[in-house]
Amino acid sequence: MIHRLLSSLLVLVLTLPLSAGAETPQSEDKPFAEVHVVLQISDRDPFKQTLVLNVANNLLKAYGPDKVDIEVVAFGPGLRLLLADNANKGRIEALAGSGVRFSGCMNTLRNFTRQLGHEPALNPHAVKVSAGVVRIIELVKQGYILIKP
């Protein structure tokens, strides 16, 4: 009996450090989220804009708004999705209302500014991040699943 108890304790001690090392994503806005997803949009194709929003919507429908944590990261030509006048701004508004976060790459924004001669306005739901690709790496390190539709 004692031998069995000691064995169980040994297993527990051995597995404890491993459990602590596997980081669980935490989001202030989605404390009950069980699935954490980062959606990448870096393509110039307007169809991809619709697709990435569709995927976000489908994830919300599949898991429920409280159970899934979604962040859309836009960089490169894909940042057009987060420009203020984008034709999809109504859909972005609705998705943001369900807790989907939108991040826009500052590097790309600076590049757009250089090409246009002025800084284009961003969607009010977009949050500027220093580099889109770095933001994705950080989220993946936290345990987010990267999907590039």
């Binding site: 989605k30 859909r91 609705a94």
Partner: protein
């Protein structure tokens, strides 16, 4: 900026919100759809087009009276060649590119389209003809500018995108009054040199500049357009120094959806006026004639139902068919003259159409249309009334490909002339017409 989340938003609200947003996000009317790209979501260059192979047939009844008695009747021949009463044809084959040249600046859009099918554009013009080449500048709110060659704001049947047209042939009122043919002469002097079009049909397009935009007020969408053009159709300059002026107004209650088959109820009205230079009368002296068109109508599309109606009035430059209803260019039986195309430069006409469609199955729509044209109302001898009832069926293979079958019951008469007169005996021989077409958009 602070990220915020509303945790209490339910899936139901989400769905409703997305539906509402989807409807409002896309400006969907003919002014906007044909040349304007969605903001920050337009491609640099999107290649697209469509192909319309078709078959049309009549009984090919011959002329029963008049100088061309026994010869082919023009209204029983199949265009644009008018050589046979039954034929296969590629009605339209169009290839285009549209987009935003510099995707970061969505304020500048372009639209380019060429026609390689066999129709009134290519029969009388080049085998491959430019139909659209326009640039739209969206810099000023409520005052967009479009310059180049494009569809003028006008009659619904002409302004709508042809690849979503629910029938194969135009109504008579649109064909005779709006699909403009351009001639050098009125064709009133008989001879051996037949009067014929001097180039492509107008194709409901003009070269010029248009000021336009759409205003959204709740579920309603109000649009306006003013245009100044050469008034000389496509791929021509201004031959007389006179311009054509166009005005268009519409209001649409949007029920939902987007694109060319968006659901809604639209009311519209339009007006256009200009002058055409033509050799006319016995002396064939060059003169300028007023050409004015105006009309109003309504369209409706909701769930399985679709309907439309429009009234069109015309003053001046009335296209009047051919001498004795013979095929243009054919010699009369006495050998003294060949049949010419004719124009009545100072006459009037009017007409209307009513159209109804119902989806009996997600892939099948049944259509019926009645159209009426009273041509040359100012001269008893020339007045003709055309009435057509078109029965149609459309089978949708998918969103891009469909097959259309039409059967037209066609009637015509000269109401001011005796029933046994030559014109009425000729018009009695107008055959019904069967048409089938496959349309593929890519």
């Amino acid at each position: 900026m602070r990220r915020s989340t509303r945790r209490d938003v339910t899936g139901v609200l989400l769905g409703a919100g997305l539906l509402a947003a989807g409807g409002a996000a896309q400006a969907a009317n003919w002014l906007m759809l044909q040349g304007t790209e969605p903001p920050d979501a337009g491609a640099r260059a999107r290649v697209w087009g469509f192909i319309q192979p078709e078959f049309q047939s009549t009984d090919g009844s011959k002329l029963p009276a008049g100088p061309w008695k026994g010869q082919k009747a023009v209204f029983n021949q199949i265009g644009p060649d008018l050589e046979s009463s039954s034929q296969f044809n590629i009605r339209r084959a169009r290839l285009g590119v549209r987009g935003t040249a510099f995707p970061l600046d969505n304020r500048v859009n372009y639209f380019f389209l060429v026609e390689a099918g066999r129709n009134g554009i290519t029969k009388f013009g080049d085998a491959v003809s430019l139909t659209d080449a326009s640039i739209t500048l969206n810099h000023i709110k409520y005052a967009r500018l479009r310059v180049g060659q494009f569809k003028y704001p006008g009659s619904e049947e002409g302004l709508q995108a042809i690849h979503v047209f629910d029938y194969i042939n135009f109504t008579n009122v649109t064909n005779f009054l709006m699909l403009e043919r351009f001639f050098d002469s009125d064709g009133s002097v008989p001879g051996m040199d037949p009067n014929k079009p001097n180039g492509s049909v107008g194709a409901f397009r003009d070269l010029g500049i248009q000021l336009f935009d759409t205003l959204h007020v709740g579920d309603w969408e109000h649009s306006y357009a003013f245009m100044i053009g050469n008034g000389n159709g496509i791929n021509r300059g201004n031959d007389n120094g006179k311009y054509n002026y166009y005005v268009y107004l519409s209001s649409e209650k949007v029920f939902g959806g987007k694109g060319p088959r968006r659901q809604g109820w639209k009311l519209y009205g339009w007006f256009q006026t200009g002058q055409r230079t033509l050799r006319a009368g016995p002396d064939q002296e060059k003169q300028d004639f007023d050409r004015t068109r105006w009309g109003f109508g309504s369209t409706f599309r909701k769930d399985k139902w679709r309907a439309g109606a429009e009234v069109i009035f015309a003053d001046g430059m009335i296209f009047n068919g051919t001498d004795g209803a013979a095929v243009p260019g054919s010699l009369n039986n006495k050998g003294t003259a060949v049949a010419s195309w004719n124009v009545l430069p100072e006459d009037k006409a009017w007409g209307f159409y009513v159209d109804l469609g119902y989806r009996v199955h997600p892939k099948v729509e049944l259509d019926i249309r009645y159209d009426y044209l009273d041509r040359a109302t100012e001269t008893d001898a020339n007045e003709r009334v055309f009435q057509t009832v078109t029965f149609g069926a459309q089978y949708f293979f998918n969103k891009k490909v469909r097959m259309l079958v039409n059967y037209e019951l066609r009637m015509a008469d000269a109401p001011q002339l005796d029933g046994s007169s030559v014109p009425n005996r000729i018009l009695d021989e107008m055959d019904n017409r069967l048409s089938a077409q496959v349309l593929a958009v890519f």
